[in-house]
Each structure stands twice: as structure tokens, then as C-alpha cells.
Assembly symmetry: C2
Homo-oligomer: 199 residues x 2
Amino acid sequence: MARTRIQQKNSETILDAALDVFSASGFRGATLDQIAEVAGMSKPNLLYYFASKEAIHLALLNQLLDTWLDPLRAMDPNGEPLAEIMGYIRKKLEISRDYPRESRLFANEILQGAPHMRVAIESDLKALVDKKAIVLQAWMDAGKITRLPPVHLIFSIWALTQHYADFDVQVRAVLGPDHDPFTEAEAFLEVLFRRLLLP
Amino acid sequence: MARTRIQQKNSETILDAALDVFSASGFRGATLDQIAEVAGMSKPNLLYYFASKEAIHLALLNQLLDTWLDPLRAMDPNGEPLAEIMGYIRKKLEISRDYPRESRLFANEILQGAPHMRVAIESDLKALVDKKAIVLQAWMDAGKITRLPPVHLIFSIWALTQHYADFDVQVRAVLGPDHDPFTEAEAFLEVLFRRLLLP
DNA sequence: GTCTATACTCTGATAGAC
DNA sequence: GTCTATCAGAGTATAGAC
């Protein structure tokens, strides 16, 4: 799929429009009409590039997982423990800020029981977390950071960073108009995790 | 609506079934057929009790907000600061454990931009958070707990507790079969917030 | 109050001209 | 490759018998 320049470009236009609509309305809530309108194409033309609505959705989910795992992969076992973890948190929060649509697409998928990503989560994601949990455990054993259940520590990073993307509407409503959620979140999470992790 | 015993009971049966389906599939993903099947009623009979699919959804959302705000309301300005906050966290986690469907219904609504609850969030929820933020600020000024942005502290409690309900599938997949997420979460969050808040 | 039958709309997907 | 027209199925809601 997607050979020529034009095809490449059109595929990307469709996927970007689909990301808009799927992330805002979920799979069932999204319609091909909406996606076509956002993409500036006709509905049959969408289906010339992708076999079905589900095929568009799957294409988005597939390219999503790697984006999702990359920052955790980058956490270096040989780096300075606190700096590595704080770097991971900062990168994860940047993703929430710069790619909120991807975050919501992922949240929608998990909320509904991960019908399409279950396998990937049980294999790739679990394997990566297990591997990094061992790194965290080693840092704890060496007295570099506070002793905590490593996997739950990772969960807490996910929960706190993704919250600012997935619950953006609520965050902004509660903070009021004169606040920048992500700037404040960065400072807050810096303090929170530094205080939590420093022995 | 819902006068007699039978009517009362049927309304509740419908709402409980609808909560099952809406929380698992979102508003558009849910169908009256599914709700009717779970409720053990015919589709037209559903519509005898509620004017429309949206009316069922709205009824659920309306009774949801109070359940959602109650634990935060219960945080007592005159109580012992750390005990009050830890009590709030424990109660919020219990709700995630005992009412995961409600948590996911709420998450779905916010994810989609809170089309039905926006007003309530901007008024009731914001007012309550503002009020409790003042209480937290006073505790900080008195040196009882660590000085932190109070509203973000509340966000962090929401994020960490709701994560275990909303991302339950992912949590269980990563932890593996021999773990009880909520028991572990309770211990983890106890340590996390005690460490964070104790001066 | 509850059911069967059905009207009507929306939406995913296809046919076929250009 | 892209469009107009259209089909087929799903799904909300209503009519009307009982």
C-alpha cells in the first residue's frame, strides 16, 4: 500500500484526519463522512486507499504502539538513575502535550478492553516493562532511589502524565483560563518524583 | 418518572444494564439491543421508561456526578491533615475498585470533551476543587504537609486512583495473573503520598 | 405495561462513469 | 484516481395489538 508520492501523501492525509476523528469520538462514534470531510476527500476515495473503516483504525493503532514504547526504551540502565527517570517523565509529559490525539486514541482503546491491542500489550508492552522493572529494582537495591514496587512506579508515571492529555478538558476547566496546564504539570511532577525517589 | 414499585425497579434494571454497555463501548458504541438484552427486556419496553437512548445516558451521567464528588466533599478542614488526605485517597481507590463501570463512563465522557458534563464540571466540580484547594493551602501554610500546588495535588490523586479502574486491562496484562492490582495499589499509594506529603 | 411489526435514518461499502 | 449514485445492513424510534 502507498507506493507513489501522491499515494503516500493521501494516505497520510487520511490517517491524520482519522486520528482527529477517532481520538475525539472513539471507533464507533467516528464516521467515514467526518473523516472524509476533515481529510478534504470523498468517502469512496478514502476506501480506495484503505479497505475499510477498521483498516484505517488498525493502521493508526499499529504505528501508535512504537511511539508509545520509545521513551521507556530510551531509559538507560547505565545512566544516572534519577536523571534517567526524570528524563523519562519529562519525555512522557511532552508526548501528552504534543500528541494528545494519540494519547486519547490509546486511552479509548484500553478503556474498551483493548480489543485490538491486547496481544501487543500482553507481549511487547509487558516484556518491556518487565525489563525496565529489573533496571529500576537494581537501582533501588543499590540505594540510588527509594525502594518501591517498580511496576507500580511505572504505572504512576503513565497515570500522571497521560492524565493531562486524556482529561485535558477537565484539567483546563478546573484550573481556569489563566493557567498553562503542561508548564505547571512539568514543575509539579519534577517536585513530586524527586521527593518520592530521593532516598 | 418512575412512580410505582415496578416502575422503580424496571428503571433501575435498565440503568444498571445501560451502565454495563455504555461504560464498555461508549455512547455511540452502545446499542439499545445490547442494553435490552442485558436488562432482559424488549427494546420498545426500554423506550417506554426512557424517552430515548440519550435520555438513558443522561440519567446515568446525572447520578454520576454526585457519587464522584462525595469523597472530596467529605475531606474535613478540621480533621488531621495527613489522615484526611490519606482517607480521601483510600476512598477514591475503593470507588475505582468497586465501581469501575462508573469510572469508565466518566472517563469516556471527559475523553470526548465532556459534551454533557461540561457545565457541571465548570461550575460544581470547579467550585468544590477551589474550596478544597484553599483547605489544602491552609494546611501547607501551617506546615502540616509539603508545600505543593493544591489543585495539581488533587489531579494527581484522581489520576493515580482512576488509572487502576480505567486502564484495568493494561494493568492486569502487565502485572500478570498472580497479582491483585487494587491491594498492591493501596499499599503503593499509601507510601507514595505519605512520602510526598510529610514535611 | 409489554410485545410484534415496521418506519425511517444513518452509515459502511460498492458499482460504474469519467 | 476520483467522483456520483446507490445498495445493504444496522439501529433508533414509533404504531398498534393485546
